[in-house]
Symmetry: C2
Subunit: 302 residues, 2 copies
């Protein structure tokens, strides 16, 4: 069995630190209860404490650190964004959607519980994300909090995540061209990643050029990430990725590999990662970790 390509030591250490910190924050925000409806909270914990890479939290925390934001704040925002990401995975896995029984080598939430509980757990995680952002503990300035809420609502709604997933399902019936797949992925993955980076800038009350640069970085990174995902779907070892190979191809999904071919897809991912890094030039070398991340996203094996 091939071992997954590791990130460079220092990047890997920083990523591990974020995983640990965000897991702690998530656990605090989803404490165990002895309520009669505790099954719902259990499913919310199950769907969020899932061994994920916490890429979006990493983006929030790294972007925020560029503006010296208190890590207590960025961790809360990171957890909120991860709640939205995890809710979308829980709903996407449902039988009526992508019908995935496994997620990162474990039964998906509706398999570990049931469909009704998984649906509600997803719903409740989306609501919780907004609750966390609107809490004064996230930032004492209500203008900062309401801007975070507005941007998250936009990224997770019909013009973001939900619209992207709708397109993804429609793409099973119709072969999309690269332009439509790019738009789909920009909505489904890009907007939330861009918000993760932008949230760091909002917390840090950044000026417009630095904020814009982070958004553009995240859009290109997100697309590079997705193209690589499509390549991994046809290429990777299920024992490393934790999901069956050729899952998207079998579902007849419109993917970059399908539209471009594998080699052209790999080249596009490289181009996107290079472009992502170029946006960071305004930080005059201080955004080194985010630059390293762009290389890692390209070379990952799981």
């Amino acid at each position: 069995m091939p071992s997954p390509r590791e990130a460079p030591k220092s990047l890997q250490r920083k990523m591990d630190e974020v995983v640990e910190a965000v897991n702690k924050t998530i656990a605090k925000l989803l404490p165990e209860t002895d309520l009669p409806e505790d099954k719902l909270f259990e499913a919310m914990r199950y769907g969020t404490m899932n061994g994920g890479k916490r890429l979006r939290p990493f983006l929030v925390i790294q972007a925020a650190s560029l503006f010296n934001v208190d890590s207590k704040r960025s961790r809360r925002v990171a957890a909120a964004i991860e709640f939205v990401h995890c809710y979308s995975l829980i709903h996407d896995d449902l039988p009526a959607m992508d019908n995935s029984d496994m997620r990162r080598g474990k039964p998906s939430t509706h398999r570990a519980f049931d469909e009704a509980t998984a649906t509600l757990a997803g719903d409740a995680l989306l609501a919780l994300a907004f609750q966390v952002l609107s809490d004064p503990a996230t930032h004492e300035d209500p203008r900062v909090r309401i801007e975070l809420v507005a941007k998250l609502a936009e990224a997770s709604g019909a013009h973001g995540l939900c619209g992207g997933q709708m397109l993804d399902l429609l793409g099973e019936q119709e072969a999309f061209d690269v332009g439509t797949i790019s738009r789909l992925q920009r909505m489904k993955t890009g907007k939330l990643m861009a918000f993760a980076c932008e949230a760091g800038a909002i917390l840090g009350k950044s000026d417009e050029p630095h904020r814009k640069a982070l958004c553009n970085y995240a859009y290109d990174l997100g697309l590079a990430f997705q193209v690589t995902d499509d390549v991994l779907d046809v290429e990777a070892d299920p024992e490393v990725t934790g999901k069956p190979a050729n899952q998207d191809a079998a579902a007849g999904k419109s993917t970059f590999v399908k539209a471009l071919g594998k080699e052209a897809a790999k080249m596009r991912a490289e181009m996107l990662a290079a472009q992502a890094k170029r946006h960071l030039k305004v930080f005059s070398g201080h955004a080194e970790t985010l630059e390293e991340l762009a290389d890692y996203v390209l070379s990952r094996r799981a």
Copy 2:
């Protein structure tokens, strides 16, 4: 066929006005598109333009009018709360939840479209509610907007709507006592109704006693509404209610009628409506419309 009990003329006129105004606001917030994913927006429109009574919008607008709030603002908040209510109906109707094929005499959203689209339409409506509240058009003061967001998130999450629906499903396996059913309904119906009233007070920057009075009114009203709903489930004419009779009983749900018997349930609804009206005394007769509403909720036939 018995005709549904009408509200008193003046109340009915006010309710019709709210239905019309809120439908217009909803239509503006959900315009037709020519996007490839327009199916999602169509399902969102279908699930919200459903001939509903707009009880929650009515509460927002009446409560707000007690503080002379600009109706442009209260209508936006009313639409946001109705989005959350409609999202919860769309998800509750899903096969894995209450498995309802019909809603107000029409196919439910997953029957008119499909399960995946209905799930996404619900998700997107929840996100849209937060987007509407966080928009400066709702109120120019970010402190007002963030308070609306925080309260809506709380009402719609695991300690509100979602937790209530979880309990509702658990109540199909276990006969709940009246205390647990009351808690379930307070979460599932009461919190969003209380928020509807409180939102009017928040928009109007009300003092604490008036705000609290409105919340308490709404909790009692919501419970009176729900008890009456349980009575209607066993008593009403499907041609008037637009859903099959004995639906909850057939699903084995824990209802007030099951726990108390029909006559005791009717008495409890009367007591709750009277209690609801008493909370309004702090408004020295100015909250007449909300008082009339409490009587109407009790006497409705659909």
